[in-house]
């Protein structure tokens, strides 16, 4: 038995990734659950509008954190602020009394506000917008679409590319008169296609089975989805360039997926997380896709209000895909060959230079 245990220990020591996962994963989970796993929202961003705004703003419960007080604005602007994600609560004051608007798409904040207001009978009953029944599936389904896209984009792509390496055919491709760009794009196109079909199926299923609304622009949604797909597929290629086997690729993909599920705001609200953990969430593409998907589908958030998440997705897409192309190119054309479409003899000289021709 000891011989077996020793052999296993030696093998474990050499499989650095599994060892790292065995040690790092519990630490990561502990940190995440300790600092991030909280449904308790302490402060809720609030805008106060209408003629009595300055007066009302000073008398609100502590949980309602006033970010803007404008006497010159009305209900329409308050709804816009909620739709665009600038605030979760809008208080509209006027001669006929005040009304309280709550963004139902920010589920946990909305619930916190409703509970809080029950303790203040002098305040009016809140009006919940976008998700009036505070339905969980309405906000979970758009987020889960992102998870599915991470799954298809990252894992399937990584496996597809690693399979090519593992079976030895990547070398064959390297000799063929392809440019590395052609190989990579040709390899990715089918995965992007499948992921796009997946996306349509999930949106349709969400709408038919869970009554998830789709009130915004499909074009803006598609824009966010495509940018997000480039990030996930790029991450898949990046994983494949540092993995020798499909097992290693799955391991790495899981390590990329887990933080996204936990820290993107999919389950736990981002603003309820400790600041130290929250910034990790701001580096993850799923965080921004969820903002776009929930915004467009549930609230009808327009393009200009989603510039930040869309821009972040575009930047992340460029960075990740750029890195993956650079690494893939190194794998495919280590000799720095010039792939010519036409042309005759090609000499590849290093030290002796032109003497080759």
């Amino acid at each position: 038995m000891w011989a077996m245990a020793m052999k296993e220990l030696r093998q474990m020591r050499r499989d650095r990734r599994t060892l790292a996962m065995m040690i790092l994963l519990p630490v990561l989970l502990l940190v995440v659950f300790g600092y991030a796993a909280s449904f308790d929202v302490d402060r809720v961003k609030t805008v106060v509008v209408g003629p009595l705004a300055p007066e009302v703003a000073g008398r609100l419960p502590e949980r309602l954190e006033v970010v803007e007080t404008r006497a010159d604005l009305g209900r329409e602007e308050a709804v816009e602020a909620l739709r665009d994600g600038d605030a979760v609560v809008g208080i509209v004051t006027g001669s006929g009394g005040a009304s309280i608007l709550v963004d139902g798409a920010d589920l946990f904040s909305a619930r916190a506000v409703v509970t809080e207001l029950r303790g203040h009978p002098e305040l009016p009953e809140p009006e919940i917008l976008f998700n009036p029944t505070l339905d969980t599936s309405t906000i979970m389904v758009p987020g889960l679409m992102g998870v599915v896209l991470v799954f298809v984009g990252t894992i399937a792509t990584a496996l597809g590319v690693v399979r090519e390496r593992q079976s030895g055919t990547l070398e064959q491709l390297a000799v063929m008169p392809f440019r590395p760009r052609d190989v990579l794009l040709g390899k990715l196109l089918p995965y992007l296609g499948v992921a796009a079909v997946d996306l349509v199926v999930i949106v349709a299923a969400g709408m038919l089975l869970f009554d998830v609304p789709f009130v915004g622009s499909p074009l803006v949604f598609a824009l966010g989805a495509v940018a997000f797909l480039f990030v996930t597929v790029g991450a898949g290629v990046l994983i494949s360039t540092v993995s020798e086997t499909q097992g290693q690729a799955i391991q790495l993909a899981m390590m990329i997926m887990l933080p996204q599920i936990l820290l993107s705001g999919l389950i736990f609200p981002l603003h309820a997380m400790a600041a130290g953990v929250r910034w990790i969430g701001y580096l993850l593409p799923l965080t921004y896709f969820i903002q776009v998907a929930r915004g467009v589908m549930v609230k009808g958030t327009p393009f200009d209000a989603l510039l930040l998440p869309l821009g972040m997705l575009a930047v992340l897409g460029l960075v990740v895909l750029g890195m993956s192309i650079a690494r893939f190119r190194r794998d495919l054309a280590p000799a720095g060959r010039r792939h010519r479409r036409h042309g005759k003899a090609e000499a590849d000289a290093t030290t002796a230079g032109a003497g080759a021709r």
Binding site: Q172, K344, A347, A356
Partner: protein, 283 residues
């Protein structure tokens, strides 16, 4: 230089290849002329694959020059399977043909021709992963031959293949050479190397012997004889039931009979001679 012509055709000169700190090849020269087969032989880790990869352009040389045609005129068969296991025989050929820009007409005629010559016609709809070792190698060779390359680079095309398939593979590659291609192949089978026009024997990344098989045999120092039992004190190696003995100074050995030296003997003697020189210089 125009493809396929000119003095020396394709090849490498003074080639060095390094992987990190490890030297895989050091100052190796290897020429592959059109209409002929040039063989690289050597044991595991001798540098055969590195040499062929540098010739194909997938390994960056650290020194020397590489002369090869444009990518479109190279046919390559790697030491691995080199075929897409989850594509059928016909799909593998179709993909390769498209990669090399073959038109539909030429692709169709070349595919039909190669399927017939490789006896893979009946297996055209079978997944490459389900083929026997010999059939898979024939498919890989057919893929390398499809676009009628000027330079055919084959990394151990017959390793692990049964003797009948070996003969068939050689028939195909000899036909390619006869058709005008320059064929560079690595092999561990020295009887195969004897069929090549030129042979390069690699050992630990350096050229041990080079030239035509006759030149290689003529360059071997001393004499090789055959003995029924292992003689005391003389360097000897088993060949079948008998022993081959190397006499460095050509002195006769009692009880031994004359034997015609072949490439296998030449390689063994060259290695023994190199070890002897290394021992002397160390002493």
């Amino acid at each position: 230089m125009t493809p396929g012509t000119g003095s020396g055709g394709w090849g490498v000169e003074g080639l060095g290849v390094r992987y990190g700190d490890r030297t895989a090849l050091d100052g190796v020269t290897f020429a592959v002329a059109a209409r002929s087969v040039a063989a690289v032989v050597g044991g595991d880790g001798a540098g055969k694959t590195s040499l062929l990869r540098a010739l194909a352009g997938t390994v960056r040389p650290s020194a020397g020059t590489v002369r090869r045609p444009d990518d479109r005129h190279i046919g390559y068969m790697s030491a691995g399977p080199g075929v897409w296991a989850d594509l059928t025989v016909a799909e593998n050929l179709e993909f390769t043909g498209r990669a090399y820009g073959l038109g539909a007409g030429r692709l169709g005629s070349r595919t039909a021709e190669l399927l017939e010559r490789t006896d893979l016609g009946e297996a055209r709809g079978r997944l490459a992963g389900r083929l026997s070792g010999g059939m898979r190698q024939k498919l890989a060779l057919a893929m390398a031959l499809l676009h009628e390359p000027e330079l055919l680079i084959l990394d151990e095309p017959t390793t692990g293949v049964d003797p009948v398939s070996r003969v068939e593979l050689w028939r195909l590659l000899a036909a390619a050479a006869a058709g005008g291609a320059a064929v560079a192949l690595a092999t561990t089978y020295l009887d195969e190397a004897e069929r090549a026009a030129t042979v390069l024997v690699l050992d630990q990344g350096r050229a041990l012997l080079a030239g035509t098989p006759e030149e290689v045999l003529a360059a071997v120092p001393g004499r090789v004889v055959e003995a029924p039992a292992r003689p005391e004190g003389a360097p000897a190696w088993r060949r079948g039931a008998r022993w081959r003995v190397w006499s460095p100074d050509g002195a006769p050995l009692p009880g031994a009979t004359e034997v015609t030296m072949d490439l296998e003997d030449a390689v063994v003697v060259a290695q023994l001679a190199r070890e002897r020189r290394a021992e002397r210089s160390a002493a």
